[in-house]
Symmetry: C2
Subunit: 224 residues, 2 copies
DNA sequence: GTTAAAACTGACGATATAGTCAGAAATGAC
DNA sequence: GTCATTTCTGACTATATCGTCAGTTTTAAC
């Protein structure tokens, strides 16, 4: 029937670009305000004001603040997870793998302070009984990504729960250190600080895994 | 002058007891609600309702929610810090010290879920530019307590910044692991889980410190 | 140009929460 | 018992925030 079947969904372009831009302005503004006042205390007006759009525009793009938060955290974590998957795929040596996992985190959060706050706020939210809906999923995906990479780098097949504990420890160590470092060092050279500890972090995590795994990999037998 | 100098400030007791009890009811109720909905989203009415007192009573005891939060976090962290100081004082062996630090945390938060949430929410708040006023102080005291204990257990005197980094790492590892473990394991046997990893945690932290310290303690020379 | 659809607006009504305060109830002193 | 002081109350006001919607502006299609 329709002759010109190819109706160029491509060149409704001006509008498309505007839409994308506005949406992006809102997301970026939200990230900024969230990093200043936290997820809960941020008001919609603050976001729209910073994005320099009318308040109604927010609701044109997002059903609610919850949905926005969901999208931001989901997007951030999916990106981080993808980076881990990409950079770590197939690294068989445990030490190299851990080193890579850590450097991916450092690179990812470097110059993306807002994302780190988002990560951290989201994680704290998970401890609440009534947190934001749907935030667990991307965090679990993130953990699973780390987990599967660890799994294939550890010679011995570990029982699920043990592997999961180790995964939590690895993720927890990285972000936990990061978070306290923020308090102490004014806040700006955290990357540098973390980078300088990378070697020790890798070494101790390697040891941690070797020791936590029930009948450990043969390893080097270092004992103390 | 005044003859009966000892005016028994002791036996205005009924009122004193009532006051203490009411205040305590409010604090406990607040802890509970905070653990459910987080610091920000908790409303005063919710606290007073749970404490089963009128709304005005809250303002009779606390200037504002901020002050209440301050008191709760301060109290919790001071107690934790005191426990660390008491239990770890003078332990010269690094491994034993780390083991003790970890076990103090486990014992402290065991069956005190609300306090752990408080700890975690407070910590996340520290990453914000506009967090709750005055929360940094108790956290810094807490870090300093760990730091001074580590300092005297490490043979070599480390430069301040290095020692501080190591301290952040130790504190971060413990709480970071804890937090992720909560997501994975429904949430109840976290203690058990953490306990089972304690040995590995101690071992890897020992190694971490040995490696992070520039020209490390002689140690056992385990190399990998 | 005209017309239709999409994107955007900001004032507005509805709602929720903070914080106050005049007075009630409990306690202590006598 | 009376009187003074402390503790407690909940209705009330003031304010802040949400989410809506009728109308405007921009874009696309012709």
């Amino acid at each position: 029937m329709v002759a010109a079947l190819d109706t160029r969904p491509k060149k409704r372009s001006r509008q498309q670009r505007r839409t994308k831009k506005t949406r992006q302005k809102l997301l970026m503004a939200a990230r900024e305000v969230f990093a200043e006042k936290g997820l809960d205390l941020t008001r919609i007006d603050e976001i729209t004001e910073r994005a320099d759009v009318g308040k109604g525009t927010f609701y044109y793009y997002f059903q609610s603040k919850e949905k926005l938060i969901n999208e931001l955290i989901h997007g951030m974590l999916d990106e981080l997870t993808a980076a881990i998957d990409e950079k770590c795929k197939g690294i068989a040596d445990l030490t190299s793998l851990l080193d890579k996992i850590i450097s991916v985190h450092i690179e990812f959060f470097s110059n993306r302070w807002e994302d780190f706050v988002l990560y951290f706020q989201g994680r704290a939210d998970l401890t609440l009984q009534m947190g934001y809906e749907g935030i667990e999923t991307p965090f679990l995906n993130y953990l699973e990504s780390i987990e599967s990479n660890l799994d294939q780098a550890i010679e011995r097949r570990l029982p699920g729960p043990v592997l999961r504990r180790i995964t939590c420890a690895v993720a927890g160590f990285i972000s936990g250190y990061y978070s306290f470092a923020v308090i102490s060092s004014g806040g700006e050279d955290v990357d540098e600080t973390l980078r300088s500890l990378r070697g020790a972090l890798v070494g101790s995590l390697t040891r941690f895994i070797r020791e936590a795994a029930p009948s450990a990999t043969m390893g080097d037998g270092a004992q103390v």
